[in-house]
Amino acid sequence: MEDLYREYILDHYKAPRFRGHLENPAFVYEDDNPTCGDHLHMEVAVDENGVVSAARFDGMGCALSQASADILLEHIIGKPLEEVKQFSKDDLLNLLGITLGPVRLKCALLSLKVLKGAIYGLKPGESLTDEED
């Protein structure tokens, strides 16, 4: 299936490492992709040094949206929150290692949107104003 359904992504989709919930998350956020009903919920815990100590996601949606969430959480766990805040779209796309058209891009980036919503402490429905265009 070319690079879009690379083994890597299918693997994270079929056997996610970070699907689930946390006991005492510092941050919780969720959002949808209205074009396809993708839904993601994320929980992030941060230790006393400001390092992401644990994270989980839950939700439903296409392989890309769910695998992207799993891959993203794998990447950020153990990193300082301040560093995670700098994590960009391009960083995520590099991580996924695929090129995407504008529609599938939304699937892939939902995970980042939800993560940012969580760690910036947004309320449901709020969105970041400094979001890149």
């Binding site: 070319e2 359904y5 396809c36 009903g37 993708d38 392989a63």
Partner: protein, 415 residues
Amino acid sequence: MPNLEISSILDVSRIRADFPVLARETREGVSLVYLDSTATSQKPRQVIEALADFYLHHNANIHRGVHTLAEEATAAYEETRARVARFIGAASPKEIVFVRNATEAINLVVYSWGRANLREGDVVVLTEMEHHANLVPWQMLAKGRGVKLEFIHVRPDGTLAMDELPRLLALKPKMVAVSGMSNVTGFQPDVAEIARQAHDAGALVLVDGAQLVPHAPVDVQALGADFLAFSSHKMLGPSGVGVLYGRRALLEAMPPFLGGGDMIKRVTLEGFSANAVPYKFEAGTPAIAEVVGLGAAIDYLNAIGMEAVHAYEQAMARYVLPRLQEVPGLHLLGASLERRGAVFSFWIDGIHAHDVAQVLDYYGIAVRAGHHCAQPLHIRFGVPATARASFYIYNTPEEADRLVAALYKVKEVFA
């Protein structure tokens, strides 16, 4: 041999030759199978040439010019209005308002007729299968002024629960607004019967014809439609233009919607008086070239004949439906063969619709994935999204076979 039966209805290979895009490949060695005409149809050469011809030879603004190009452009625009009127059996071209799309047509009715006629406690009847275009505008109006929306529900087989209608009509609704064909299940309700009952109960009837008009013969009188909304881009015509049909007396009684040039008779700093219909509802420079292109699309459809279009799609539906049902784990939204167009929305156990569409795309097959702007209908069936394959006059049984074969590949990838 169903293929033979089907191919006797339309000369599809001749039709396909008119649609240059169908010859393209989505990537090297993979030819396109376009099964997304419910979202937007492809355009025949004749339409593309009509657009180019307009811009190359006659382009001008309309109505307000006396020079040669302006007269030519105005004539082309107004002749299309007359052609649209004939196409749907309207009593007069004055009943045809050009807008952007079916969505704007419905919004026009809601903003203009709705605000003038609906008061707190009034009821509007819709159905559970409506496209957001025939739901959200009513919700926006209803919320502000305490209008109640009531719904005819959808049965498990995708048909409407017509037995609910008498109870809803007993509420004396002012309006019954219903889709002529669902863009998800392909179900084509008996609009004429709904309209008959609705009129008996004193309600007006708006028909969302976005899917019906491209796929079946439509006569607004026989249908009993007081308003009919549809889009050029779904019926072989250009994007950027749609039609609102409205009975003349209704249009004349309605207040204007958008203000600006052309919709006025006289303007001073203190106020304005509105122009006659249909101009009253066409503020500003319309989609002139696109209207002319719609005229070419109607000519094209007329040359085939809408009866033949409809018959071909019925035959395709009979061909496709059982083959889809054979795919293990595949579930259709609306599996009835009665009163349906050739559009099929389905989900496959354990595989998200996006992933179905993505893998199909790998094999050159263009289907849509999502809620198809009919989220309540998806909620009713308990799925967030489906994949949708839709067939038009240029699609063949062989393409349906390619779809079915590729669905087995989808299942392999996600096994």
